[in-house]
């Protein structure tokens, strides 16, 4: 079978699997977040947590609860990393240095999972499973909670209540993420992933050389790492490591898992706003962007442009034999279109334009289909921008889902849209204007700028993948990127919740003949256009100096 045919079949299988889960999972999640009923386990938990599950919160309270939980999470994880040598299963590793511990704590709490450390030589098993992986669940559930609160803003009218953060958090973890992670772990184990608490097994290779076969609770972490669009690898090699991702079947499963919840949440949205077509329209825009980037990266990697790759005859630097170019391109597209940042191949060694597309894909704001929850609220924000732009064209007050888009909404949405690019471009500019941070660059020339741009793009979008040649375990990068991650996560979240509060307060307006239908292909096309134009205009100059200069 030709490379192209097998690559297309691979994509076909992925889409078929996602389609099969779309309706049931979307409906299940809608029930989880709209049910009035707490189950027995949850009632016990709420007592332990000291929260009133029946309290419906106003948006500022919802936001404060979320921020308080996240702040506590950062501090708790930071302490755990610092005190590692005093904890069980530390494997003899020392405490993580303050700047790296701050970076790592911020990284996992913001769903970024940027790693300035190398797992196998820094983190003991307890820190991995009871520190880092707890945030894999929690940060994903936080993302979903924000998306659901925003959807409630569209659903509800004449109320100042947007839901209960603690209930949304606990339900997201207990009813959605945990059961799926258990199933994912078992399948990964059957396919060959490791799961033990061993400090490693000594082997003597055929050449007589000593080799330590590493251990760890890997499969359980791998499952939630993909399902929660986290992406932080147990090992430095991430999903390229054979113990995390042993074969082509586990590879397609991992891609499926990282796309599953963001895709199905569009169904949840459609059901909750009682207009399923709206969910399809959002999904169609996400899918169109994802497919476009996939075609681009796959074609560019198959073409293997670039001196070294042309010389070698394939774009296989940083790629695993068992996956090859097609499965690596599919993974790269999906991980940068979500906030995952797991990698099964190393983007720094992609062809210049193929690697450039991974940067551009994140620059779209990670809405194709985006991180767990963050993809949905990001795309809904862009949908509001789109109806506003359309409203300007015809001179009408824009509406979306029967809510008027007033100056207040537009201010919140504009601030949301501006936050990420400001963080990315200011951070990159700062790093490039200082001499110290420039020394971290591995690849000279335009590619070096791409490494720095990638780092800030990945952090501000809470992606976590890297042009990994850059040495980021320095005081500057650990601090600057941690701040970029925190700003890139929590400023948009607060704005999205403020928008939810503002929408919930409005009376729904009846549609009329002049209302722009937001479920038709015309709207989907406009939405895609808005996403590309916003990101394109913002990042074109930076991309021109990096990947475009290198690749053209």
């Amino acid at each position: 079978m030709s490379e192209t045919a097998s690559g297309l079949l691979q994509v076909g299988l992925l889409i078929a699997a996602l389609a099969a889960c779309y309706l049931p999972l979307g409906a299940y999640m809608a029930r989880v977040y709209t049910s009035e009923h707490d189950n027995g386990v949850e009632r016990v938990l709420y007592r332990l947590m000291g929260v009133d599950s029946k309290a419906d919160q106003r948006w500022p309270v919802y936001a404060r609860s979320l921020l308080a939980f996240s702040a506590v999470s950062v501090l708790g994880l930071y302490a755990m990393l610092r005190f590692q040598p005093h904890l069980p299963l530390s494997l003899g590793f020392p405490g993580v240095a303050p700047d790296q511990a701050f970076n790592t704590a911020a990284s996992f709490v913001t769903n970024t999972n940027w790693q300035s450390y190398s797992g196998e030589s820094t983190m003991g098993h307890l820190v991995q499973m009871s520190g880092l992986a707890v945030q894999n669940f929690a940060s994903a559930a936080v993302g979903m909670a924000v998306a659901i609160a925003l959807v409630r803003g569209f659903m509800r009218s004449r109320t100042d209540r947007v839901g209960n953060f603690w209930v949304d958090l606990v339900r997201g973890i207990l009813r959605i993420l945990l059961p799926m992670a258990v199933v994912g772990t078992i399948v990964l184990l059957a396919l060959g992933a490791v799961q033990n608490l061993s400090a490693g097994t000594d082997a003597t290779t055929l050449a007589g050389v000593h080799q330590t076969i590493t251990g760890g609770p890997v499969a359980s972490q791998e499952a939630i790492k993909e399902l929660g669009t986290n992406g932080g690898g147990f090992y430095n090699a991430n999903s390229a490591h054979p113990f995390e991702n042993p074969n082509p079947l586990s590879n397609i499963l991992e891609i499926f898992m990282l796309l599953l919840i963001p895709v199905a949440l569009t169904r949840t949205f459609g059901l909750m706003v009682k207009d399923k077509r709206q969910g399809y329209a959002i999904l169609a825009a996400m899918g169109a962007l994802w497919a476009t980037i996939l075609v681009g990266i796959s074609t560019l990697e198959a073409g293997h442009a670039g001196t070294a790759l042309k010389l070698a005859g394939a774009s296989m630097e940083g790629k695993e034999t068992r996956f090859g170019v097609a499965a690596s391109s599919l993974f790269a597209t999906s991980t940068t279109g979500t906030s995952t940042g797991a990698v099964n191949s190393f983007h720094d060694s992609f062809s210049a334009l193929g690697g450039g597309l991974t940067i551009f894909h994140m620059g779209l704001g990670e809405v194709s289909p985006g991180g767990v929850g963050s993809g949905l609220y990001g795309m809904l924000i862009l949908a509001v921008v789109t109806v506003f732009v359309a409203g300007l064209m015809v001179g009408r007050t824009p509406e979306y889902l029967r809510k008027k888009i007033t100056p207040r909404e537009i201010k919140l949405v504009s601030l949301y849209i501006l936050t990420m690019p400001v963080v990315v471009l200011a951070g990159t500019g700062l790093a490039m204007s200082l001499s110290g941070p420039k020394e971290s660059i591995l690849n000279p020339g335009p590619h070096g700028l791409s490494e720095v741009l990638y780092a800030f793009m990945s952090s501000a979008n809470n992606n976590g993948s890297a042009f990994a040649g850059i040495s980021v375990n320095t005081g500057f990068y650990n601090t600057a990127l941690a701040l970029a991650m925190l700003a890139g996560r929590f400023v948009p979240i607060v704005l999205a919740l403020a928008l939810a509060g503002s929408l919930a307060r409005q009376q729904a307006v009846p549609g009329n003949a002049g209302t722009l239908p937001t479920h038709r292909p015309l709207f989907v096309g406009m939405l895609v256009g808005v996403v590309i134009i916003v990101a394109g205009l913002t990042f074109f100059p930076a991309l021109a100096l990096g990947p475009l200069a290198e690749g053209l």
Binding site: S6, V72, F137, V182, T205, Q211, H241
Partner: protein, 218 residues
């Protein structure tokens, strides 16, 4: 008198308690239950698909190795300027891909090279690897397989492409004094096609082939 906290402070109290509860559920119960299940139901996989020969662990089916030998000079192992022994490809074994994990295939230091397509270091490495592989395998430099020239993502790639394996068959057969057809047959036995016919790529497990060769002898 009961302490009265402001609502804002109460949120932090709830945050701390929630963190602790979640740590117990998804940070301890979940991974430990999965570990228990894994050890009972998937013991071999869960422990790293270890490969043993004559009772000794020689590696993992999933983790690649460097099939090398010390360079000898006047009957003694050659050392480099810093006193470390120098290694070369062992011609009786099929060779793995170049690796950027530590000194090569070190699971404690997994890594890709992260060298960009225009990086002079990578360009020079490709040229040098092409010349070395062509000389070792006695093939035209233009015939060297791409995966012989480029390092993997993990640095632990257990596989090579069927093309790179085919390139090495004649040399391994010659060094071991085996029939070329016999060696080719062993390679075929340890070659996997694309999963389900279309997932991933065809590949040869290098450790398995080399173990099979050692079992045949010579």
């Amino acid at each position: 008198m009961a302490l009265r906290f402001s609502p804002a402070l109460r949120q932090y109290g709830a945050g701390v308690r929630t963190m602790l509860v979640l740590t117990v559920i998804v940070g301890l119960a979940y991974p430990l239950a999965m570990t228990g299940l894994a050890q009972v139901a998937f013991g071999s996989n869960a422990n790293g698909s270890l490969v043993t020969r004559a009772g000794k662990t020689v590696g993992s089916d999933l983790i690649g190795q460097a099939f090398i030998r010390p360079v000898m000079e006047k009957g003694k192992p050659k050392k480099d300027a810093s006193g470390k022994p120098v290694f070369e490809a062992d011609p009786k074994y099929f060779q793995s891909r170049p690796s950027a994990a530590g000194d090569g295939y070190d699971p404690l230091s997994t890594s890709a090279s992260n060298l960009g397509p225009e990086n002079k270091v990578l360009i020079a490495a490709v040229k040098e690897r092409r010349a070395t592989a062509a000389k070792l395998d006695g093939v035209d430099p233009q015939q060297v397989a791409p995966d012989a020239l480029l390092a993997s993502g993990s640095g632990l790639d257990p596989n090579i492409s069927p093309a790179y394996a085919a390139q090495q068959v004649a040399r391994v057969a010659r060094v071991r004094g085996l029939d070329v057809a016999k060696v080719a047959e062993l390679v075929t036995e340890h070659t996997q096609g694309r999963t389900l016919g279309f997932l991933g790529e065809a590949r040869v497990n290098v450790l398995e082939v080399n173990l099979a060769l050692d079992a045949v002898g010579r």
